[in-house]
């Protein structure tokens, strides 16, 4: 398992856990739930912020938030 900010562009993964104490409820409401599929679409310069596709919702989050989301990349068993 890696944190979301370590995904490569185009890579897909499954959300495993999120640091719920730190992160806003809004993220969960936008579909960042454990079990949902996420892929990293684009990165701004300096790898921040991140442009994601989470369960068909397109989101931009900052790196500090992405660090608190743990994911398991596809084909990584």
């Amino acid at each position: 398992m890696i944190s979301l900010d370590q995904l490569a562009i185009g890579q897909k993964a499954i959300i495993k856990s999120i640091e719920t104490d730190v992160l806003p409820l809004k993220l969960i409401e936008m579909g960042c739930l454990p079990g949902n599929e996420v892929s990293l679409l684009y990165l701004a310069p300096f790898h921040d912020p991140l442009y994601l596709n989470v369960d068909e919702t397109h989101l931009v989050i900052r790196k500090e938030v992405a660090r608190c989301i743990m994911v398991k990349p596809f084909g990584d068993d």
């Binding site: 719920t20 104490d21 992160l23 806003p24 409820l25 809004k26 993220l27 969960i28 409401e29 936008m30 579909g31 739930l33 679409l41 684009y42 701004a44 310069p45 300096f46 921040d48 912020p49 442009y51 369960d55 068909e56 919702t57 397109h58 989101l59 931009v60 989050i61 900052r62 938030v65």
Partner: protein, 698 residues
Amino acid sequence: MINNINVALIGNPNTGKTSVFNALTGLNQKVGNYPGITVEKKQGSCRLDRGTKARILDLPGTYSLNASSNDESVVVELLLNKNDLDFPDVTVVVTDVENLKRNLLLFTQIKDLEIPTVLVINMSDQMRRKGIKIDLEKLEELLETRVILISTRLKTGIDQLKQVLVSYRKLNTTPLFDLTTIDEPYFESLRKAFPDQSLFKLWLVITQDVNFTKLERQKVANSTEFKTQSKSYLKKLQQRETIKRYQTINRTLKEAYTVNREEAKDLRSKLDNLLIHKFWGYVIFFMILLSIFQAIFDWSSIPMDFIDSSFAQLSKWTKQQLPPGVFTDLIAEGVISGLGGIVIFIPQIVFLFMFISILEETGYMSRVVFLMDRGLRKFGLSGKSVVPLISGTACAIPAVMATRNIENWKERLITILVVPFTTCSARIPVYMILISLVIPDDRFLGINYQGLTLMGLYFLGFLMAILFASILNGFMKTRNKSYFVVEMPNYKLPLLKNVALTVWEKTRSFVTEAGKIILAISVLLWFMASFGPGKNFADAEETISQQYAPQSMSKTEFENKVASVRLENSYIGILGKTLEPLIRPLGYDWKIGIALISSFAAREVFVGTLATLYSVDQGETETIKKRMGRELRSDGTLLFNTATGVSIMIFYAFAMQCMSTLAIVKKETNSWKWPVIQLFSMSIIAYIAALITYQILK
């Protein structure tokens, strides 16, 4: 007998909720503020059928009823307060056909409040292209309400929505979701304690930090069982609730919604590849900014010149038509030129908001946020601060209005506070005359010093804006923590109606809100310049006739001299003289002091005021320049030497000298606190910077 009902439109951002609102109300809408906060309140009216009229409230966009910003709190507060005059008889939840799953989260919450709720699925024209099929009957059965497909682009479904709203009493109001499945003991005890209340309402009262009717909150807070729950436990329950709601929604959509992703042609990724490219993305953004800047600067100069000369003529005409006297002067010089000072900003506001609204409507603005966020975040600004900062180079007024798009209050406030540092077009006449006076017209390595100075002043403005932003960022505490989570909407063609209504609304609110203050201060400045205490003011004409032989000058020269003596002895002149000890260390005399004060009407007035004081014709820039170049100090040295000239430029670069900007800041922040802070901090910065400049160059 006409039946009036309250309808509230609710929905996620980017669902076209405002398009539905515009389709229902057209021009029958007004935009105000919720009392005490800077959240826009949009209301309108619509005739539903012969016997029913609806008052329609367009609530701020929100992703759920768990409020994390002022905008969202407004929604929760209204829906929890049955006694509110705006409390809806029926709510319409607007959703986007492509993001139905996420949009339904809010729908299930609204439905659980036991208010009649209609589900609108907007942008239905996209269904075929995106390979989406919806089983409407099934969906209505599972969601226990009416579902209506709408396309605001093709204008379909609106009539059906009106029909359903008329018979809103037939809508089912039982809750959809059973909260007890989250934590049975907790919710069962809550239900037992308040058996006659809706369970979800109680839950919102416990979890939401909003100005809910105090009584009910106390009732809940006093019962010990619920107090024992810690905040983090409550948050955990909220998360569990969200997850459970999504499970219910997933089950529903599985039965009623299919999407064939293969059919979806991906316009988004094609455009994104280009528009947020690490190199080309910035180039394109820069080009777009350049053309917006060009438009505001260039295109609007034609109508602005026209407005300027029309008002000048109107003022002249009024003077000729009305009998001479104080009242005529008040109308011609105070009121008419004050009105002119308001109307002159309209072209810039129209162009800027036309562009901004197109960029918003197409979805491009969110891409700008993505591109710029990292760079600006360091200074407490947001990716969305770019547009206000750039448009500030035309005029701070539309720029301050443009900060409305920044959701985070702290980032928005910092942007508002630093925007006036950017070099607006009103500073240019002041810079031009001073540069030509004190900067040599020489070249160094082919670069003209004068041009270089002007560029340096623009650069200085931006630099100061960024510097001041980072200072403010260190001082200001965040009022509400709002994490940066931005949705990237789909690309869309802008709807002309939405663009036109935005432009109309912004212009109207500028004229009525900020206009009042601008007019009042113009009249005050006119009064201070036209009246003075004592004999010196009243006897100006006699003094001049005694000093000079009657034939030694023309009528105009005589009038110019009289005006000069009057201005010197007017209230504003006295103020300038009182100020002199304060501004002498900057290298200024009392005449410059008067020009500084009258610049509050608009910065470019600096030149005209000096022209009056030196009793030369205002229209002739060359004459004014020559006259300024001859002006001496009491010790016989030149007044406008390099030190004074540069010092004035530095002062104009940093000082808050524009009442119109103060008026708009007051309007946008809803309090006098911020414009006052802005006025003092900017003036102090300007004073110190000009002082240092003068003392070094002297």
